[in-house]
Amino acid sequence: MTTILTVPPSLDDGTFESLLQQMAPLAADAKVLVDARHTRWASPYGLIGLLTLAQSRADTPQFIPPEDPNTASYWARSGFFRNAEKLYEMMRPVPRSRTGDSNYFLEITPIAKTEDVQHVVQHIQERSAAIMETLGFPPSGAIGFSVVLSESCQNIIEHADGPGWVAVQNYDWKKRLGRRVVVIAVTDCGIGFRQSLAPKRGSSDRWDDGAALESALSRGTSRFHDPGRGQGLAGIKRYVAKWGAKLTIRSGTARIGIIPAWDDELALIEHLPPFPGAQMQIIIPQAVAS
C-alpha cells in the first residue's frame, strides 16, 4: 500500500511540519507518494526539505509535481527537479532547466564534501554585490555572509555523517516585515545533533533532541574534544545577533531558535514529528536606514 503525503499549498519551514506529521506513523520502508499538485509556493527550506524527506525513506518515494506551470517552472529553475529526479520516481513530466537559469542567489546545491563548500562560497562571492545591495549592507559585509554560509554547510561535512543541501534566496516581506529578507536554508539527512553530541552528555543529564540542541547552540558543545571545535555555530550566532536575523535549527523532534524582536516564535519547540538529520534556516532582514 502506498501512503499519500500531501504537500501544503504554501511550503515553508512551518508548513513542512504537516508533511512530517503525515509521515510520522509510517514505517521507514513504507511506500509513500509525495503529492505536490496543489502547491503554489515553496521556500528554499521547503524545497530542500522535500529532497531530505526522500533521502530519509528506505524505498524510493513517488512524486507528483505542482500542476501550476509557473510553480513547476520556478521549482525547475531553483534546481529542485534536477536533484529530485535522482531521489524520487516522478509520476509526471517536469520542466527542464539549466544551472544558472534562476534568480536564486544560490540554487539548490548538494553538500557532501569539502569541495562543495568551497564551490558554494566561491559562487556566493560572485553574487555578493547583489546580496549586499538587497540587504542594504556595506560591500564589506559580504565576507561575513560567506563565513556564515561556509560554517552552516560545514556542519554537514563535520557532524552529519550524511549528505545535505543548501539554497539561498531573497524575498520581499512587505506585509510581514516591510523589508526584503535573504534566506539561507541548509538541511541534511544525517545523524542529528542528539546522536552527534551523545558522547559529550553528562551521565545524569536529561538527553533528548531539545537538550542536544540547547547544548550546541547555548553552550557551544562539539562532538570533538579539541577546544578549537564548536566555533562555527558560535560564530553564526554572533552574525545573527549583529544582523538582527532569525536562526532556527531543527533536529529529531525539536527545534531551537534565536528569535529576533520582529518575530514571535518560541525559542525552543519540542515533541515535533521525528525527522532525521538537521535543518537550519537563517532569515536575514534588510538593514533599516539609520
Binding site: I143, S146, V147, S150, G228
Partner: protein, 191 residues
Amino acid sequence: MLQLMPLDLRKALARAECDLYSNLVTRATGRAVRSQLETMLRDMPGQRLAVLDFTHVGVLDFSCADEIVAQLLLRFGAGLPAHAPALPTPSYFMFRGLAEAHLEALEPVLERHGLALVAEGPDGSMQLIGMVEPDEHSTWQLVVASGGGDVDAIASFAAEARMDLHDRLVALARRRLVIQTAAGFHPLQHH
C-alpha cells in the same frame, strides 16, 4: 641568527591543491594549508620569523582560522604553559594583510585558545590581536618603542621602574609576541 620567512597563503593554498579558490574556508582546507606551511617551516633550520600574508585571502572562516592560525601558533609553542620546557629553536609568526573581515573570524578563535598574535598594518605599524592582558600589552609596547635590547635598555623606556620586567619579557617571548635572543628581547620585525 634569526631567519625571515615570508609565507604567502595563496601560494600555500596552491601547493595544497586548493588553487581554484583564494578563500580560506573549511577545516580540511585549513589542515592542508597548515601542512604546507609546516613543511616550508621545517625546511628552514634555526630560529625563524615567518610572515603570514593574508593580502590575497578573500574569505577566512572560523574553521580555517582555527586550523591555520591557532593550530600553527599552538604547534610552535605559543600556547605552552609557563612551567613547560621552552622549545630549543622557536618559530615566531607575524601576520600581514589582515582585513577587518578576517579579524572577525580570527579574534574569537584566538580568544578560545587564549592566544595572541602580532599583526602588521599597511603602514608597517604593529598591533597585538587576541587575548592580551593590559600589563602584557604595556610591556610589549615598551619593546616596540625601545626597538628591543637587553632588559635595562627596554626598562629605560618605562615611565616607572619595573622589578619584574625580565619575567614579563620572558612570558611575552613564550607567547611568541616578542623575540628572545642572547642579546635580549626584540619586536617581531622583518626589516
